[in-house]
């Protein structure tokens, strides 16, 4: 019985991504030895918005039915703009107020996407493409040129007070919230809906509520990303947000999360994002032009989805 169980079991989904991250760390350390002596901390700070957005993308992809949130980039950008160009200049810069505002704005964006997808039943790609436009447009409307006056406390995000860069605790915090969520029945509900919504519905899972909640969670995490993005940018720039959408999707695909839904988690998404950033970092180290980066993103995204597609096909064939 044990042998039967062992032989029929497969490797956890995130293993390839984590191994690739380890490999990239080794390669980077060989190229730039100072990376291991703390150089990585700065890299991590710059990577943190992408890591958070990759993690934010994961719940909706997991919820299946073509689930995807193209608006995460512009949403994080818009939140950043509202924080840095609206609230902070209005002297509403107390830390708890800003954090709360980021979370609530994120939740609002997620609720809008979730309602459009789960209740109105607009295909996720189209719904979030439209909100992408709206969020990106509003961000530019509010803030035409980059701004950079932040309260002093926001420097915490980019600093290092302990063994880890401070922002790592934010990432861990998001991970912890997600971990707590996976301890509840929601985790099973989400994977059931993502894997086979018909089976889930027939077994009594509230499919619509589960999907809506996935978008809401994505929204809240996007809010956190917007906050961190503001700190990392040292202000707000309405053109930065949209560029993250492609990378966040690439991170999810790289992290081994099935774009068909049901398989994966935040760990994989975070690993995928770290991997993507390490590749970018390595290319920068080797003096590769910034133009190469754009190409690499595309190639990495395509390879990741092809690998994902082949994997899904193999499973279906069984």
């Amino acid at each position: 019985m044990t042998t039967l169980t062992a032989t029929r079991r497969s490797v956890p989904y995130f293993v390839p991504a984590v191994l690739a991250v380890v490999l990239m760390i080794v390669i980077t350390a060989l190229k730039a030895p100072q990376f291991l002596d703390g150089g990585w901390k700065l890299v991590f700070v710059y990577a943190s918005p992408l890591i958070l957005l990759g993690m934010a993308q994961a719940p909706v992809v997991l919820s299946g039915g073509g689930g995807m949130d193209l608006s995460v980039g512009p949403a994080a950008g818009l939140i950043s703009v509202i924080l840095a160009a609206v609230l902070i200049p209005a002297q509403l810069s107390v830390w708890w107020l800003i954090v709360l505002a980021a979370l609530l704005l994120g939740a609002a964006g997620g609720a809008i996407n979730g309602a459009l997808v789960a209740f109105v039943r607009i295909p996720p790609i189209i719904a979030t493409l439209a909100t992408y436009l709206v969020f990106a447009g509003l961000a530019t409307q509010i803030l035409a040129a980059p701004t950079g006056f932040l309260p002093r406390w926001m420097r915490w995000f980019t600093g290092t007070d302990g063994p880890l860069p401070n922002v790592a605790y934010v990432v861990l915090g998001v991970g912890l919230v997600w971990w707590a969520l996976t301890r509840t029945a929601y985790w099973r509900n989400l994977r059931a809906v993502g894997s086979n919504d018909r089976a889930a519905y027939a077994s009594g899972v509230p499919v619509t509520a589960v999907r809506f909640l996935a978008y809401l969670v994505t929204g809240v995490f996007t809010g956190v990303a917007g906050l961190v993005l503001t700190a990392v940018l040292g202000g707000a720039d309405s053109t930065v947000g949209p560029t993250y959408t492609l990378q966040a999707i690439a991170a999810v695909a790289l992290g081994g999360i099935s774009l068909a839904g049901g398989r994966g988690g935040l760990l994989g998404a975070a690993a995928g994002a770290v991997l993507l950033f390490l590749i970018q970092n390595y290319l920068t180290l080797t003096q590769a032009s910034s133009f190469v980066l754009q190409m690499v993103y595309g190639v990495v995204l395509i390879l990741a989805i092809v690998a994902n597609g082949l994997w899904d096909r193999r499973r279906k064939a069984r």
Binding site: G66, M68, V120, L133, G137, I302, I305, G309
Partner: protein, 324 residues
């Protein structure tokens, strides 16, 4: 590509008729608000902008008609734009430069179509990735140079006061008319045209009727890339310089033109004729918004909202219980 044959709600009849009246009605409004539009230069500037969008939107129309989407259009526009100016200033002949651009465009389209059809990956992610590769490759190949010169003929082609022989119409507008005529003829009278609709309406039924969906899909993305490249070349005439990001606004404007025209995002319903109406409406609308002082960003917001409203009217999915 959609493999589920969802029962589709027919486009509301009112919308079907309205879409062809809308460009005329909106033009009247436009003239009422901005009288200066009613001049040869005014009308021609409008039509040149519409032509650039209209040519780029051919591929988007067909991609959406077969139930897909093409997000690599802006990258292909940028590729053609930069490649033309770079090659031309390096002393290449115009035809040789065009041939090179066309070859790159065909390759882009084949990769898009083949990846999307062979593995059943969603065209959205595929074209997003391929677009990124194209943009990156162009930047690497040209070293990011944005200078360069363009053939004088190209400047005239998109100038509102440009002419073609005795006709007081710029080349770009005539080119659009020719492209539109060809596209409409193919849609209506070519076997391939009917296959587009078959694949979009019901891929499974199409395959059983001996239509080859993969072949149709690849052809569509090749046509899309070629048309986007044509827009990119023409844009070189109006901008004078080159920029790999010159096509970025065309991502959403092509989708909006198709959706405003009433082509269903679920595939199988619509036509390029509707997109022509959609192109004219969006161009007029944009001109109007600019005329009354509404900036590009608010236009974008309004476009997003318009897409949501239109999809809610005719593009909703089925409830899970209806699939049991």
């Amino acid at each position: 590509m959609s493999t589920i044959a969802a029962p589709r709600i027919a486009l509301p009849q009112l919308l079907v008729r309205l879409v062809y009246v809308a460009p005329v009605a909106l033009f009247v409004v436009l003239v009422a608000v901005l009288p200066e539009v009613l001049s040869r230069t005014g009308v021609m500037s409008l039509l040149v902008l519409a032509a650039l969008l209209g040519i780029a939107a051919v591929g988007q129309t067909w991609a959406i008609l077969i139930g897909g989407i093409d997000l690599s259009i802006p990258a292909t526009i940028g590729m053609a734009n930069v490649l033309l100016t770079t090659l031309y200033s390096q002393g290449w002949g115009f035809p040789a430069a065009l041939a090179t651009i066309a070859a790159v465009a065909v390759a882009t389209g084949v990769v898009n179509g083949a990846l999307a059809s062979s593995l059943g990956l969603h065209p959205l992610v595929v074209t997003l990735g391929v677009g990124s590769v194209v943009t990156g490759a162009v930047l690497v190949a040209t070293g990011g140079n944005t200078g360069g010169s363009v053939p004088a003929a190209l400047t005239g082609a998109v100038s509102p006061v440009g002419t073609v022989g005795p006709l007081p119409v710029p080349f770009a507008v005539l080119a659009w008319v020719a492209v539109a005529a060809l596209v409409l003829w193919v849609e209506r009278r070519a076997v391939f045209g009917r296959h587009l609709y078959a694949v979009g309406a019901n891929t499974r039924a199409a395959r059983l009727a001996f239509v080859r969906p993969a072949r149709v899909q690849i052809t569509v993305y090749v046509v899309s890339a070629l048309c986007a490249a044509a827009t990119g070349v023409l844009l070189a005439g109006s901008s004078g310089g080159a920029s790999v990001g010159i096509g970025s606004t065309y991502l959403f404007s092509t989708i909006t033109a198709v959706v405003v025209g009433g082509t269903s995002l679920l595939g199988g319903a619509g036509s390029y004729a509707r997109t022509i109406a959609g192109v004219l409406v969006t161009t007029e609308f944009t001109t109007l918004l600019i005329g009354v002082g509404i900036g590009a960003t608010m236009q974008q917001v309004l476009l997003g909202l318009a897409i949501l409203v239109l999809i809610t009217v005719y593009g909703r999915d089925r409830h899970v219980a209806q699939r049991l």
